[in-house]
């Protein structure tokens, strides 16, 4: 996978430099350095409380960082609301609990942001929304409300909703953790397709099968630090760090 993308993989999409964050006294992120190139697929794993979700939530400033720099597509993330909103337009996010808007239909959920943020005419936005709903294979649910769909369907709608904004980067925050086992596959299938189309992705997930199939790099975090970073092949077969070995042995033994 990575070889075929070498040509376009020059441009840096997301860059974190010496990122530090505290929750009060608690030091959640310690000196994080990470550079993600265009088209790269990164999988981030680690035990709960290791700061992996916090890290990707910093990238679209759902969490504020206290030290260090975050650059998305060359724009530096600062207090400036204009810049924050500009970055959020280019960065799509999929949440663990879907966070669809329950008072709007599936189609309205998808068309809302393009209409109001990008000023796309309603007709056009709805046509785009239908296109992406077809891609996640639920065009027939377009006029239902999120509450009438299964978890897996809701998560696919959430992915379509993000794609409608035509993002440069997609962030996935444990997208399959809240799903019943039989629904995980339908969501992962959509994510694999997306990866194969060359979307830049940062996924926090424990789906190691997914990591093996699509990831260019796997990052292991613990205690707010990046412990290990390698291609999936090396990462799973030949983990360097003791903490990584322990983690992998615990999640892979069944």
């Amino acid at each position: 996978m990575s070889d075929s993308n070498e040509a376009i993989a020059q441009e840096t999409m997301v860059e974190l430099r010496n990122l530090n964050k505290w929750y009060g006294e608690f030091h959640v992120l310690k000196n994080i350095n990470l550079s993600v190139k265009k088209g790269e697929r990164i999988v981030i794993c680690g035990p709960s409380g290791s700061g992996k979700s916090t890290m990707i939530r910093c990238i679209n400033r759902l969490e504020e960082h206290q030290q260090g720099e975050i650059l998305v597509n060359g724009t530096q993330l600062t207090e400036d609301l204009k810049k924050i909103e500009a970055i959020r337009r280019d960065v799509g996010m999929v949440f663990q609990h879907f966070n669809l808007f329950p008072h709007l239909t599936v189609l309205e959920n998808c068309a809302l942001a393009p209409i109001w943020v990008k000023k796309v005419p309603r007709k056009e936005a709805e046509a785009t929304a239908m296109k992406f709903l077809e891609r996640v294979r639920i065009p027939d649910q377009a006029l239902k409300y999120p509450g009438q769909l299964s978890g897996g369907q809701q998560q696919r709608v959430a992915i379509a909703r993000s794609l409608c904004m035509n993002p440069d980067v997609m962030l996935f925050d444990e997208p399959t953790s809240a799903l019943d086992p039989e629904m995980i596959k339908e969501v992962l299938d959509v994510m694999v397709e997306l990866a194969q189309e060359g979307m830049t992705m940062l996924c926090v997930t424990h789906e190691m099968g997914f990591a093996k199939t699509v990831a260019d790099r796997v990052i292991f975090m613990d205690g707010g630090q990046i412990i290990e970073e390698n291609n999936p092949h090396e990462f799973f077969d030949n983990p360097q760090h003791e903490r990584t070995q322990l983690f992998l042995s615990q999640i892979l033994q069944h």
Binding site: N60, L62, L81, E85, R88, R89, V91, G92, M93, F95, H97, N99, L100, F101, P102, H103, L112, A113, W116, V117, K144, Y145, G147, Q148, R161, S162, M165
Partner: protein
Amino acid sequence: MFVGLVAWLVIKNLPYKGLVAALTLFVFPVVAFFLLYGGAFGLVEVETHKWGGMSLTLILAVVGIVASLPFGVALALGRRSDMPIVRSLSIIYIEFWRGVPLITVLFMASVMLPLFVPEEISFDKLLRALIGIVMFQSAYMAEVVRGGLQAIPKGQYEAADALGLGYWKKMVLIILPQALKLMIPGIVNTFIALFKDTSLVLIIGLFDLLAIVQAALNDPEWLGYSTEGYIFVALMFWVFCFGMSRYSLHLEKLLHTGHGSRT
């Protein structure tokens, strides 16, 4: 006319809702004002302090309700704002008006206020009472709205943020529609209380439905009918309040999209 317009709005699936709503909000008050105030079209001029009865009760309640809702929403958003000045002003406003009885507000509006402003500027008594009621009521409404805002999960705010919606779009498109739905019981509760509180305007010399019946009972021809009079007033209040409460239940059902189908 008012009943007709509102009925049109309340019943589902009738056409031209937007137009009818605009008529109700903007044209109807003007027409009603001229019909009540008179002076034009050969009608006898009736000054506002002589208005009374059911029409006065309805004017106070409807204007109070319609005007206090947007103010209440604004105050609630202000109280939850990140900006310290906006937040403290909202808190001061809300806590001040909630801490004062409505009777005091009405007294202040009708008796004290004219003492403080120069004599040339004299507000209409009814208008003063209305402003007092709206200011008082919006403080209560603000707290109901705030309760609704706090019930919206954090994920909804985050999803709206992540899509790049700014503060106002996030509030108007995502948060308030959901919050208002949750707040229906609280809002209607406040409205019902306001509707009944309108009888307090008696103490500043305005005659609402209850007061006008009391006045009528002093008429020698009505002697001995006091029980019937009071029962009639009670019944009128009950009918309106019960109507509001039923309509709120109907609205809650109509807006429910959690599960099951909507149509």
